[in-house]
């Protein structure tokens, strides 16, 4: 049955792909533990390469298309992200981490160019054009923030003939604050411009208030075995909303303590009483409506979208009841944990996700817990947990420690760990060490391969890629030391004491066995590195003080070398002071004489 279904799906997909220019959009909602809700928006359209080359863009955004053509970009990936994915409670990342970036802006692209210099030039064109298009500071991705990853990224699309001249460039801006000015141009790239369809739910207030959000744009060529190559553009927005926070009324946004009768208490605790309350795990008790969570209703569906793809899907067990507005058809999928909704083109769509009704009496706590588990889809365990932090103190030197944990009890995980660090963090590769938690000795066999391109002051950042292998159920500590350099005072930003953002490390888990495609990608959080600062207020003072010190030394030396020695009572009546006082006394004497003369005349 399942195979038949997937076969159907495949044939449907191939049909979709072979259609000359198609577009579909889909929103997938997945309640997560701890009152969180993951919303994944996906907008995808294809265009044949021949149509693209003849500027017949149809659903492909013209502005972006022209930039890509001008910069000879074969494949483009752009990410705007904010917040932290809490893997411990939310589990594996959506899209296996393939549609997210580190905090800030990330851009990587395969450009077609003959030489490295030409690729750099085109990269500059691309970043500057995208900067204008997305109202982001992408033009600050200069040589110091650009790297050419060797192992971490593989093209996602099909490049049948031209892989030799393709240059992969990767740039990252961890300091960039993603906000509404980036969302508006993003919505303009959609065929329905955010006026109808699922894109109407995208409200800047809610999107950038999310616990975690990632906007992604992927452009890649896809060549099916039969038929013409198409250029696919996929725009995705993933966000994790805090339901409690979203439900807070707009006119009363200040969080206040709930009245006691609204508190959700865990009644299984022995100390539970009228005046004590242990907060219950909220996940089972989520209740929300679409308009509460997104701040507005969904208005119809985009008329251009492929009717075969349902616009909204919800991933909860079939046992959970969901109310939808009239005219909407609910279709439960065969896997038992998801359902989709078919919406008539003009109608508004509203969904009410009520608290599950308590069956079989409310006193059975164990039963309740079971129901709770059954009422949300259990998060999938990710292949790897990673967290990175600074060690040490002071503004002179420090260390970076990454804790990598393989949760699987029986399979080892092989991955590529990539850091692109700013040049003013001088890392010492001879201090790179990886050891399994519990063992004190460093274990050389964990790191299998290192690719290292050292930083060059003011010209290039550090690029460090490591292929590592972690045994099953092990925690690995990866550490290295670095030194913070002090910059010229004009190189500091206005808020120099805030620190400098260090981009997230990218961890690409490799497929076992077959060709080296990424099975799962994750990123650590970005870090804030504080550098020693000079005193910005006193360039003139420093110039003057240092010059004075040098002048004193030089003057003293010059004096001693050039002047002759004589006894204290020899030579001419020397000294500027003595000469001056002599002159002064002369003048005074004359003045006195005059005075006496005048007095005599009187």
């Amino acid at each position: 049955m399942r195979q038949l279904f997937s076969l159907l799906l495949l044939s449907l997909l191939s049909f979709v792909c072979s259609a000359s220019s198609d577009y579909h959009e889909q929103l997938v909602l997945r309640p997560l533990p701890l009152s969180a809700l993951l919303a994944s928006f996906d907008f995808r359209s294809n265009i044949t390469l021949s149509a693209f080359e003849t500027h017949n863009f149809r659903f492909f955004p013209r502005s972006l298309g022209q930039i890509l053509q001008y910069a000879n970009t074969r494949e483009l990936h752009l990410r705007f992200s904010l917040g932290r994915w809490d893997a411990e409670s939310w589990g594996a990342r959506p899209w296996d981490g393939a549609r997210e970036g580190g905090t800030g802006v990330e851009l990587w692209a395969w450009l077609e160019a003959e030489t490295d210099d030409e690729a750099d030039h085109k990269w500059l064109t691309l970043t500057n054009a995208l900067s204008g298009l997305f109202c982001a500071s992408l033009n600050f991705i200069d040589g110091t923030r650009t790297t050419r990853p060797v192992m971490s990224f593989q093209p996602e699309g099909d490049h049948p003939n031209s892989t030799e001249n393709m240059h992969l460039l990767y740039g990252v801006l961890p300091h960039e604050v993603v906000c509404t000015e980036n969302l508006t141009p993003f919505l303009k790239l959609l065929p329905c411009k955010g006026k109808v369809g699922i894109a109407t739910l995208l409200d800047g207030h809610k999107l950038f208030d999310a616990s975690w959000q990632s906007m992604a744009i992927d452009v890649r060529p896809i060549c099916p075995d039969d038929g013409e190559c198409v250029l696919q553009i996929e725009l995705t927005i993933d966000m994790v909303l805090d339901i409690e926070r979203s439900k807070r009324p707009r006119d009363n946004p200040i969080p206040r303590p709930l009245p006691s009768h609204e508190l959700m208490c865990d009644t299984s605790k022995p100390y539970h009483a009228d005046d004590t309350c242990f907060p219950a795990d909220y996940s089972a008790n989520q209740d929300w409506t679409l308009s509460q969570v997104f701040g507005r209703n969904m208005k119809g569906i985009c008329p251009l979208t492929d009717p075969a793809v349902p616009p909204v899907c919800l991933q909860v067990p079939h046992s959970r009841r969901v109310f939808v507005s009239s005219g909407v058809v609910e279709k439960k999928n065969a896997d038992g944990t998801s359902r989709c909704f078919e919406i008539s083109p003009k109608a508004d769509f509203e969904m009410i996700f009520p608290r599950p009704e308590k069956t079989d009496g409310e006193e059975g706590n164990a039963a309740q817990a079971e129901i709770a588990l059954a009422d949300v889809v259990k998060p999938e365990t990710p292949l790897l947990y990673a967290e990175r932090s600074f060690t040490g103190h002071g503004q002179e030197r420090g260390g970076v420690q990454t804790i990598l944990r393989n949760p699987s009890p029986d399979t080892e995980v092989e991955f590529i760990y990539m850091e692109s660090l700013p040049w003013f963090m001088r890392i010492y590769t001879h201090t790179i060490e990886a050891h399994v938690g519990g063992e004190s000795k460093s274990n050389g066999s964990l790191i299998e391969e290192i690719y290292y391109r050292p930083a060059l002051d003011r010209a290039r950042g550090t690029q460090l890629e490591m292929r590592m292998r972690i045994p099953p159920a092990a925690t690995v500590f990866l550490t290295y030391d670095f030194e913070k350099s002090i910059l010229r005072y004009t190189e500091y930003p206005p808020d120099a004491n805030r620190g400098f953002d260090v981009a997230a490390a990218v961890i690409t888990i490799l497929n076992r066995g077959e060709e080296r495609k990424a099975a799962y990608t994750l990123r650590t959080t970005s870090l804030l590195c504080s550098l020693p600062t000079p005193d910005f207020s006193m360039p003139y003072n420093v110039i003057i003080f240092t010059s004075t010190a040098i002048a004193l030394a030089f003057g003293g030396m010059f004096n001693i070398l050039v002047r002759r020695f004589v006894a204290a009572d020899e030579g001419p009546e020397a000294g500027l002071g003595k000469k001056l006082s002599a002159k002064l006394s002369k003048v005074l004497e004359r003045f006195r004489k005059k005075k006496t003369a005048v007095e005599e005349q009187k």
């Binding site: 103190h393 002071g394 503004q395 002179e396 030197r397 040049w423 001088r426 010492y428 590769t429 001879h430 290192i450 290292y452 391109r453 050292p454 930083a455 060059l456 002051d457 003011r458 030194e483 350099s485 002090i486 910059l487 010229r488 005072y489 004009t490 020693p532 600062t533 000079p534 005193d535 006193m538 360039p539 420093v542 110039i543 003080f545 240092t546 010190a549 040098i550 004193l552 030394a553 030089f554 003293g556 030396m557 010059f558 004096n559 001693i560 070398l561 002047r563 002759r564 020695f565 004589v566 006894a567 204290a568 030579g571 001419p572 020397a574």
Partner: protein
Amino acid sequence: MVGGKVNSGRMTALLVGAVVLRLAIFYLLPGLSDLLAGRVEISTPVTSFKRLQEGLFLYQHNVSPYDGGVYHQAPLLLPLFSLFPNFKSFPLGTYQLYIVADLLSARALQLIADSGEAGSSALFTSPRREKRWTGLIVAAVFLFNPFTIATCIGRSTSVFTTCAILHAIAKAVSGAPFSAMVALSFAAYLSMYPLLLLPPLLLLCYDRQHPSCAIKSAGKFAITNILVVAGVLAALFQMSYFMTGSWEFLSSTYGIQLTLTDLTPNVGLWWYFFIEMFDSFRSFFLAVFWLHLSCYVGGLSIRIRRQPLAVLTLLLGIFAIFKPYPSISDTSLFLALVPLYRHVFPLMRYTFVEASVILYATFLGPSFYYLWIYAGSGNANFFYAITLVWNLGLSLLVCDLTFAVLRDEWEVERPEMVGKEIRQI
């Protein structure tokens, strides 16, 4: 003969004492050696041992250490240190190398002191020359100087430059111009600035030639020896080129001293000045600073022509103040040569002030640095101010020594002026 034996016995005891002291610090206080290796007063970007280790690691893993912003030291140090076992697993080899370098420096210093060059050179004999310290004392002052010990424990590679410079002087004093030039070339190869010592060293060599094989013509002598230096340097560069496979090392090793791209704090005057300098004036002031540093060479060589060793001493003092990346190791080299002028100490005017300023800066410097970098209760001006004090103290010492040496010369012409008040016109 008996005296000589006693002397050599004492020398051995001194050397053994120095070795034991250093090994004791290495082994009994292992934390101290790492602490000192990380101090900005000891390890500058061009001499730091940690950077050397990084360069070595990259070199051994076939990454060019000069294609990065960390390693700025001479290429031939890499194969030298590759010969020694890995520092992490077997540090004794590296310790031995540094201790031996210190001992060789002390030995050279003893030779210089015992030659009596400081008191009576070829063209000048000081009336006070009898009042001098023996080589043993001079070597002891060097070996037990806290600055020297700290440099050795901190494993700064300037130890090797110091050793080469002292050997160049020792060879020049003992009448071996060729060896002196070779040693100077090594020093210049390691850290560039010793090349400025060439003119006074040529004068010293010229004055102390063996009469048997002397070159009478000064021009011919100078050209021969400059050619020797050029030849040795060319050979060293060629070897470096073959070793690293490119000329990249030139800009990374010597270019950084000329352009000061790495602004890590140190005890000198350059770093803060060029942090705060306006971009459009940066190159101008770099040129001015270098010009200032080199202008002393000509002036001193001409004015104190009769005592080339004094010129070398004073120049080393000036370099310890004004070179781009000075450290206390340069000061220790200067302070090692100052005791040779024991006979002019009574002519110095401000010894108490100088000693107190240097001590003051020595103790306050690290604490101000701590306040700035770690405690956060001070800012960069604290450390900057203390480096100003330190450099003013040192420059006062250099000026005072110059005065004393010149007055000593002058009193040969005017023996009646000994002990009288004088002035300069």
